[in-house]
Amino acid sequence: MEAATLLDWIVAALVLVGAAFSLIGSLGLLRMPDIFTRLHGPSKATTIGIGSILVASALYMSFRGPGLSLHEFMISLFIAITTPVASHLLAKAARHRRLPGAEGWSADGDQPRNR
């Protein structure tokens, strides 16, 4: 009984932390001034958020389900690998479109070397 309630507390804390990280990431997506700063919020905070929720789910399903449950970590690993790639491609697309940054920074100043 004691171990069960401890498991409940740990899973609840992980789930709440993950949801709070996702909310902070989306808030950064809404509030930041230009596209290059807007890329930070979802690509970092949302990765931590969904990773924390998946760790909570793996813990709960391992202790309450029929056996060890590790296929949540497949989603977690996939997201951790693919999110930097997607952010990099989006940043390259934004730079290619010559989007201006905040505080007068412009993409025309310095060209990328190998293009």
Binding site: D8, W9, V11, A12, V15, L16, G18, A19, A20, S22, L23, G25, S26, L27, L29, L30, I35, R38, L39, P42, T46, T47, G49, I50, I53, L54, A56, S57, Y60, M61, R64, G65, S69, H71, E72, M74, I75, F78, I79, T82, T83, V85, A86, L89, L90, K92, A93, A94, H96, R97, L99
Partner: protein
């Protein structure tokens, strides 16, 4: 106690989905909209995992994995199209 925590977390994720939807509608450039769409994909995958945890069911992970993979493919293809003007060269 755990079900209340998962309900609160689902509400927080719903608010974050609404914020990303506001950016999707408002976004000044198309890259902002792609970024908002990517955030919507990842947050809805997290929401599906949470829903499976709430029900104690084991079959929602496949749907979450599919949504994550489709979101990554969509973001890569749209960014590639914006950069090169073509998806497969």
């Amino acid at each position: 106690m755990l079900s209340h925590a998962i309900d609160i977390a689902l509400a927080l994720l719903g608010v974050s989905l609404a914020l990303a939807l506001v950016r999707l509608m408002r976004g000044p450039d198309v890259t902002d909209r792609i970024l908002a769409l990517d955030t919507l994909y990842v947050n809805s995958a997290a929401m599906l995992v949470l829903y499976g945890l709430r029900l104690g069911a084991d079959r929602y992970y496949e749907a979450a994995l599919l949504i994550a993979m489709l979101g990554f493919t969509t973001t890569v293809v749209l960014s590639k199209f914006l950069t090169r003007g073509d998806v497969i060269e």
